[in-house]
Symmetry: C2
Subunit: 343 residues, 2 copies
C-alpha cells in the first residue's frame, strides 16, 4: 500500500498530532499550525485561515494532495471538496455534520464522512442534568435575588420521579437517558424507526417512533431534543407541539436550533406555557444581540459549548486512530455518515 | 393506656393532619391553624404566632397539656419547654436540631427529641449535583454573559472523574456520595468515628475519621460539608484547611454556616484559591445585605432552602407515624437525637 496523505485542518495539541502520526507508518501527516486559526478555547475547532492569498493557495494545494482530512478544512474552499482528486475520507470533529456535508456537496460525492458521534454524549448529558436540577431549584430566580441581596425561603422540586422525554435516542440521547435514570427520573423517548428495538434496549420506559412524538408530550416534565437536524426533524418542535406539552414543562435543546420554531418557543416562554428552557443551540448562531431569548427570565442561554470539554480532543483522536486502522485495512469505518439520513 | 395529647405546632396540610390522627385511636391531636404563622412556601415550618397575649396564653396552655409535639413550637416559650409537666417527646421537622435543642435546655432534660434526618437527604444531594454541574459548565459566568447578550464559545469540564470529598457521611452525605458516584465521580469522605466501617460500607473509595480530614483536602475537586454542627465541627473549614484544599476546588456547604470560617472563605474566594462556592447556609441567617458573599462572582447563594421540596411534609409525616407507633408500644424511636453528640 502506498503512503496516505492525511491533513489536519483544525488545531490539535502536538501530543495528539504525534499520536495520530504514530498510528501507522504509512501515514504522511501534514500539520501546519501557521495555516490554522488559533483555537479560541481548549477544545475549539475553528475553520482554517484562508484570508491571505498565500494561505489560500497553500490550502488549495493541500486539499488537492490530501487523501484523508481531520475536520472539514477551509469551508470557503469546501464547495470544491467533492472534486478534490485524492480525497477519500473526512473525519469530522462533531456529531451533527449531515447538513454541512450536504451544503458542501459531499453527500453527492464518493468521499466518506465519519462523524464524532459519541464523543460529546457525556458533556451534553451533563448539560441536561444541569438544566433539570437548576430549574428544580429555581436557580435563575435565585440568581436574580442574589444580585438584589434578597433572601427569601422557597420550596423547590426534586428530579426524582419527573418524566423526561428524550427526542432522539442516539448516542447522546441514550447517555441523557442513562444519567436521568441515575437521578431516578422516569425516562421515555423516541427514535426515528423502532426496528424491533424495545424500550429496554434503549434504556427507557416507553418508546415511540419520532413521528408519534405527540403521544409523549402531555406527560413530559422535561423535553430534551437530541435529534440530528434533517428534513424530518426541521422545526419538529413547533407551536402545535409546544401546545401539547405538559403545562410548566422544561425544554432542553442540545440538538440544533433549526429543530425548534424559535418564534413559537419565545411565545411559549413568555406566556409561561413552558416553565423554562435551557438552550445550547439557536436558529442563528451566534445568537443575535437582538434576540428576545437573552432577556427572558426563564431562559438559560449556553453559547453552543455544552459539548465542549477538555477531554474531547483526546477522545476524537482515539476514534480517529481506530478509523485510520480500519481505513488502511479496508474495513468499515465507525460513525460513517449516512448521506440520505444525514446522520 | 390513656389518651396521648399531641400538638402540631407548625403548618401542615389538612390531609397530613388527618393521616397523623388516623395513626392510633388513642391520639388526641390538637391542630389549631389560627395559632400558626402561615407557611411562606409549600413546605415551610415557621414558628407559631405568639405576638398577641391571647395566642401566647393559649400556647402556654397547649404546651402544659402536650405529651408529644410535632415541631418545637413557639421558641419564645421554649426556654421552659424542658419543664412542661406532660411533655415527653418532640418530633422535629429538620435534621440539624442539636444546637437548637441545646439552646432551649432540652439536652439536659428527659424529653426525647427525634430529628427528621433522612427526609432532606435527596434534595440536598441534588443541590450538590447542581453545584458540581454548574461550576463544570461555568454557569455563573454564562449568566453574566447572557445579561450582556455576549456570545463566546468556551470549554467546560465534566464531573466524571472528579474527586468529591464528603465531610460527614451521615444520611445526607451518603446520598450525596451515591448520586456523585452515579455521575462517575470518585468519592471520598469522613465520619466522626470509623467504628469498623469500611469505605465500601459508606459508598466511598477512601474513608477517614473527620479529625483526619486534612489528608483528603489536597485531592478534593469538590468539598461537600454535610456534618452536623457540634463543638467538634465548629469552623472545621478554617483558613488553615482552606489553604490545604486543591487549588481551584469547589466548596458546597449544606451543613450549617458555623462549620465554616466565613471571613476566611471570602478571602479564599476573592483570591481564586477556591474556584467557587455554592452555599445554602451562613453564619448569620438571613444573610446580611452587607455580606460580601452576595456579590462575589464565584458564589452561588441559596437561601437555606436547598432541602425544601414539596414532597417533604409527607415524608416527615411517614416518619412521625412510624415513631408514634413505636412510642405507643414503648419501642425505641427512630432518629433519636443524641444529646451529647447533638445529632
Amino acid at each position: 500500500m502506498s503512503r496516505v496523505r492525511l491533513v489536519i485542518t483544525s488545531p490539535l495539541p502536538d501530543e495528539l498530532v504525534a499520536r495520530i502520526r504514530a498510528t501507522d507508518a504509512r501515514l504522511d501527516v501534514v500539520h501546519e499550525p501557521d495555516l490554522l486559526a488559533p483555537a479560541r478555547h481548549a477544545c475549539d475547532h475553528p475553520p482554517p485561515k484562508v484570508d491571505d492569498p498565500a494561505a489560500r493557495e497553500r490550502w488549495n494545494a493541500l486539499l488537492d494532495e490530501a487523501e484523508v482530512l481531520f475536520d472539514f478544512g477551509p469551508l470557503e474552499l469546501a464547495p470544491s471538496l467533492a472534486e478534490r482528486p485524492q480525497l477519500r475520507w473526512i473525519q469530522a470533529t462533531s456529531a451533527g455534520v449531515g447538513k454541512l456535508a450536504e451544503r458542501v456537496g459531499l453527500t453527492k460525492s464518493s468521499v466518506a464522512v465519519t462523524t464524532a458521534s459519541g464523543v460529546h454524549a457525556r458533556p451534553l448529558a451533563e448539560f441536561v442534568l444541569l438544566a433539570m436540577l437548576m430549574f428544580g431549584k429555581d436557580g435563575l430566580r435565585l440568581g436574580r435575588e442574589q444580585r438584589e441581596h434578597h433572601w427569601e425561603l422557597y420550596c423547590g422540586e426534586e428530579t426524582g420521579g419527573k418524566t423526561v422525554c428524550v427526542v432522539g435516542l442516539g448516542k447522546i440521547g441514550r447517555e441523557v437517558a442513562r444519567l436521568a435514570r441515575a437521578l431516578d427520573a422516569r425516562v421515555v423517548g423516541t427514535v426515528r424507526e423502532l426496528r424491533d428495538r424495545t424500550p429496554k434496549d434503549l434504556g427507557v420506559e416507553r418508546l415511540e417512533p419520532t413521528d408519534q412524538l405527540d403521544e409523549l408530550l402531555p406527560d413530559a416534565d422535561v423535553l430534551v431534543l437530541a435529534v440530528p437536524h434533517t428534513a424530518l426533524t426541521h422545526r419538529i418542535l413547533d407551536a402545535r407541539r409546544l401546545a401539547l406539552l405538559k403545562p410548566g414543562a422544561i425544554l432542553v435543546n442540545i440538538a440544533r436550533g433549526d429543530v425548534v420554531d424559535e418564534a413559537a418557543l419565545v411565545e411559549a416562554l413568555r406566556s409561561g406555557r413552558l416553565r423554562g428552557a435551557a438552550l445550547d443551540v439557536f436558529e442563528q448562531e451566534p445568537l443575535s444581540p437582538e434576540s428576545p431569548l437573552w432577556d427572558l427570565p426563564n431562559v438559560f442561554v449556553s453559547p453552543h459549548s455544552a459539548s465542549n470539554v477538555a477531554a474531547e480532543n483526546g477522545r476524537i483522536v482515539d476514534l480517529f486512530q481506530e478509523n485510520i486502522r480500519r481505513y488502511l485495512e479496508g474495513r468499515p469505518l465507525l460513525n460513517l455518515l449516512d448521506k440520505e439520513q444525514l446522520y
